[in-house]
Assembly symmetry: C2
Homo-oligomer: 509 residues x 2
C-alpha cells in the first residue's frame, strides 16, 4: 500500500471541496436553519401560555399545490405546542356540506376560540380555485366567493383574530416527481387522488388561477408564498412569520377594526316614530285570512323543500310586541322536519369566545329548510351597543359586516327576511301590566323587561339607525305594526308568502 504524502492528501481534500462546494454550503446552511427553527420553536412554546392568557385567537391557513408538503409544514409548526392549544382542520367537503350550506360554512364553523391556534390544512382558497377550474361554479359565482373570502378574513381580523396565510409553491416538475413517488408504494398510493393528477395536467391553469386568487385576496391580509421544494427553509420562514405576527399582536393588544362604509343598495325606511300603528283586523277577517295564508304557506314549504331554497326569517322587536305568537303562526303550517326556530339568548361562554357571528354561522339551516331566528345577530347593534358589551368601533363596524354576511347568505341562494315587530310605549305598558296580573303569563315578564323599557329612547335611536343602515335590497327589513297582533301576524305571513312565491318562480328545481 502506497503511503500518501501530506501534499497529496491536501490536494485530494481541496479537489473534493472544489467538487461539492455547493453541497457543503447547503449543509452548513441547513444546520443553521435547523438551529434557527429550534430556537423559534422554543419561543413559540414559551408564548403559548401568553396567547392563552391574553385570549388571542390565531388562524394559520396553509394552502398550496397537491403534494407541496402542507401537512409536513404544519407538523413542523406544531411540534412544540401543547395539543390543548391548537387544532388542525382539513375540512372534509362532503357532498352534503357542499351543496347544502354556504361555501364558507365549514371554515367559519372551524374558527378557533380565543387563546387557541387553528391550522387549516388547505381551505377556502383551494375550495374556490378547484371549483371554478372544474366548472362546478360559474365565473360570476367565483367572483362572489372571492369577495366573500376577503370579507370573511377582514371581519375576523377586525374582531381581533391574527391571521397568517401561506401558499406552498412547487414547480410542475417537482410535483410530478412527488406524485409519482407516492404512487409507487402501496402504502402511500391512496394519498394521490384523481383530483391531484388532474391538477398536474392542468398545471398552467392552476398557476394562473392561484396567482389571480392571491392577487384579489391579498388585502387586507397578505399572502406569503413559500418554496415547497425547500422544506427546512419553508418551515423557518413560516415560523418566523408566525412569531412576528404573534409578537406584534401581543405587544399592541387586541386589534379592534375601524368602522368602514361600503355602499350597499339600501331601501328607504321610515323612522319608528312615524309608523302608523293603528291598522287592525276584525276577528272574522283574521280567521279567514289566517286559514287561507297558512294553507298557502304549507304548500309553498313543499316547493321550497323540493327546490332546496334556504329560508331565513329574522325576528326582532320590542319586549311584549308579540314575536312569539307571530312566529308560531308562521311555524304552524310548516312541516316540522323542514324548519327550526332558533331562540337567541345571551351567548354562552364558548360562543363569547369567538367572533360574534360564529354562533349564527353554526345555526344556519340546510338548503331547503326554513330557519326562524327569534332574535338575531342584530343584538350587536342593539343590546351590545347599549349595554357596552362591545367597543364602539365594534358595533359601528357591524352594520357593514352584517350587510356582508347577509349578502353571503343571499348569494348562496337564501331568502332572508327581517321583521321588526313594532308597538308603542303605551301598548307595551298595557301588556306588561296584563302579564303581571295574569298568573299563567307572569313568567314572561322579567326585571330586565322593565329596565329595557326605561331605555326606550336610546333603543329607538339604535333601531332607527339599524333599519336605516341594514335594510338592503337582498335582505330587507319589514316593520310589522303589532299594536294589533292579528294584523301583525297576517302582515308577516303575507310578506313571507310573497317572497317565497317569488323565489319559487325564479329558481329551477
Amino acid at each position: 500500500m502506497k503511503k500518501e504524502t501530506h501534499g497529496e492528501k491536501e490536494t485530494k481534500k481541496a479537489a473534493k471541496a472544489e467538487k461539492d462546494p455547493e453541497k457543503e454550503a447547503r449543509k452548513k446552511e441547513n444546520s443553521a436553519l435547523k438551529a434557527e427553527i429550534k430556537e423559534m420553536r422554543g419561543r413559540l412554546m414559551a408564548q403559548q401560555q401568553v396567547i392563552r392568557e391574553k385570549g388571542l385567537p390565531i388562524i394559520v391557513l396553509v394552502e398550496g399545490w397537491a403534494a407541496a408538503g402542507k401537512g409536513s409544514l404544519i407538523n413542523e409548526l406544531i411540534s412544540e405546542i401543547d395539543p390543548r392549544n391548537y387544532n388542525v382542520t382539513s375540512p372534509v367537503i362532503t357532498p352534503e356540506a357542499e351543496s347544502r350550506y354556504p361555501f364558507l360554512y365549514p371554515y367559519a364553523k372551524a374558527i378557533p376560540e380565543n387563546g387557541k391556534i387553528m391550522f387549516y390544512d388547505s381551505g377556502w382558497m383551494e375550495d374556490c380555485v378547484r371549483k371554478v377550474l372544474h366548472r362546478e361554479i360559474t365565473k360570476d359565482e367565483y367572483k362572489k366567493r372571492v369577495r366573500a373570502v376577503t370579507e370573511f378574513e377582514r371581519q375576523l381580523r377586525d374582531g381581533g383574530y391574527v391571521i397568517l396565510k401561506l401558499f406552498l409553491d412547487i414547480s410542475e416538475k417537482e410535483q410530478y416527481k412527488r406524485l409519482a413517488g407516492l404512487r409507487e408504494s402501496f402504502e402511500t398510493a391512496w394519498r394521490v387522488t384523481d383530483d391531484d393528477m388532474w391538477q398536474l395536467r392542468e398545471h398552467k391553469n392552476f398557476e394562473k388561477t392561484y396567482a389571480s386568487f392571491m392577487d384579489k385576496t391579498g388585502d387586507p391580509i397578505p399572502w406569503h408564498v413559500l418554496d415547497g421544494s425547500k422544506r427546512t427553509l419553508a418551515a423557518r420562514d413560516a415560523l418566523k412569520l408566525l412569531l412576528e405576527l404573534i409578537d406584534k399582536a401581543l405587544s399592541k393588544g387586541r386589534y379592534v377594526g375601524k368602522p368602514f362604509k361600503e355602499s350597499f343598495p339600501l331601501l328607504n325606511m321610515p323612522k319608528l316614530r312615524d309608523v302608523d300603528l293603528s291598522p287592525a283586523l276584525t276577528d272574522e277577517e283574521y280567521d279567514k285570512e289566517l286559514k287561507r295564508l297558512q294553507k298557502r304557506l304549507g304548500e309553498l314549504h313543499n316547493v321550497i323543500y323540493l327546490k332546496k331554497i334556504p329560508v331565513i326569517l329574522c325576528y326582532e322587536g320590542w319586549d311584549a310586541a308579540g314575536k312569539g305568537g307571530n312566529i308560531r303562526r308562521i311555524a304552524r303550517p310548516l312541516d316540522p322536519r323542514g324548519f327550526d326556530v332558533m331562540p337567541i339568548a345571551s351567548p354562552e361562554p364558548h360562543e363569547k369566545n369567538r367572533q360574534y357571528l360564529w354562533r349564527f354561522w353554526t345555526r344556519l339551516p340546510r338548503s331547503g329548510h326554513v330557519c326562524i331566528f327569534d332574535r338575531t345577530w342584530y343584538g350587536r347593534v342593539m343590546v351590545e351597543r347599549l349595554e357596552g358589551f362591545c367597543e364602539e368601533d365594534d358595533w359601528k363596524r357591524a352594520y357593514n359586516e352584517i350587510n356582508e354576511f347577509e349578502r353571503q347568505l343571499t348569494d348562496w341562494g337564501a331568502v332572508v327576511l327581517k321583521f321588526w315587530i313594532h308597538i308603542d310605549q303605551d301598548t307595551q305598558l298595557q301588556r306588561f301590566t296584563d302579564r303581571q296580573n295574569t298568573p299563567e303569563k307572569a313568567w314572561k315578564l322579567t326585571e330586565e323587561d322593565w329596565r329595557n323599557r326605561e331605555k326606550w329612547p336610546q333603543y329607538e335611536e339604535a333601531i332607527d339607525e339599524m333599519l336605516e343602515k341594514t335594510s338592503t335590497k337582498n335582505a330587507p327589513w319589514f316593520i310589522i305594526e303589532s299594536n294589533d297582533k292579528k294584523y301583525a301576524r297576517i302582515k308577516a305571513l303575507r310578506i313571507v308568502i310573497d317572497a317565497l312565491e317569488k323565489a319559487c318562480r325564479e329558481r329551477l328545481a
Copy 2:
C-alpha cells in the same frame, strides 16, 4: 207538490239515521276527541313553563310506517308549544354520517337539553330495522344495535330524561292507498322514496321485524302503538301519554336511576399501591426507542386511515404525572389531518345541561381518525364523585354505563385504549415544587392541584375502584408507570402500536 205528512218525514229521518248510524257516531266521537285534544293542548302549554323551570328534558320518539302520518302527528303535538321550548329532528342519515360514526351518533347528538322537548321524526328504530332488512348490516350487528338502543334509552332515563316512544301503525292496504295518493300529484310525489315503495313490497318482513324490535326494546321504556289510520284518535292518545309522563315526572322530581351491575369481561388490575414505579430508561435507550416507535406509529397511521379504523386514546392520571408530554410523543408522528387532541375541562353550561356522556358523543372522531382525550368521561367516577357534582347513585351507575358506552364504541370498530399515568406522592410533590420554582412552568400549577393532592387517599380509592370495574377486554386500562417519564412514553407508544398492529391485521380495508 205533495206535502209530506208528519209521519212520512219521521220515516225518512229514521231511514237516514238507519243508513249512517256509524257516520253519526263517528262524527260525534270525533268532535269529542277534538275537544279533548284542545283541552290537553292547553294543559301542555301551561306546563311548558314548569318543564323549563324544573329543567326536565323530554324525548318523544315517533316511529312508524312510511306515510303513517308521523309528521302530522308531531304537528298536532307541538301546535301550542312555544317554539323556544321544543325542536324536531329528523336525522338526515348522510352516507358520511352513516359509515363514519357509530350508528347512534346522530341521535345522541340531538338529545335535548334540560327543560326542552325533542321530537324525533323517526329515529334509531327505523335505522336498525331498515338496515337489517336491506342487508346493510348482519344479523349479529343488528343484535348489537338493539342492545345499544336499550342501553342508550335506559341511560337517558336514568339521567332524568322523560322518554315517550310511539309507533304509528297502518295496514298494508292503507299504506298502499296513501303512497299512491302522494305519487299522483307532482307537488307531493317526491315525498315517496324508492325505499318507501320497497317497504310496501316487503310489508310482511317489516311487520315482523318492527314487532320483534319493539319486543326487544320495550324494557325499560315501553312502546305505544297508535293507529295511524285514525289521526285524531292517535293525536289524542299521544297527547294523553305525553301529559301523563310529564305529570308523573314533575310530581316526583327528577329521576335518578339506581346502580346496577351487568357482567362485563373484566381484566384483573393491580391496586395502585402495589404498582412498582421504579422502571426507568437511560437517555440512549429512550432516544433510540422513541425514534423507532414513532416511525412505526407514523406508518401505522397511514394504514389506520386507509382501513378507516377509529382510534380513541384516553388519558387520565395524577396532576403532574406527565400526561401532556406523553400525549405529545404519541401525536408527534401522526398526520395532523388525521388526529385530534381533545382537552376535557369542566363542562360548559350547555354541556352540563345534558346527559354527562353527551359532550363525549359529540367529540367522537370520524372513522380512520385518532382522537386523544386528555381527561375523559371517567371524570364522572373521580372528580364528580369526590366533589359531589353528581348523586351517589349517578356515579355508582356510571361504571356500567361507561362499559356500555365503550362497548358501543368497540362494536362500531374503534380501538379504545385507556391510560392511567401513574406516579407516587413524593414524585408529585417534587414536580409541583419544581414547577413553582421555574417561571416558565409556574402557570401549570394551580391552587386546585394542591387541593387535589390533599385528597390523594380518596382519589386513590376511587381510581382503584374505577380500574377494577371498567377495565374490560374490549377497552382495557393500562397503568403507565411515570416516575420516569421516558419509560412512561415508551410504554404508552408500545401499547398503542401493538393494538394498532393487531387491529390492522384483523380488519379488511
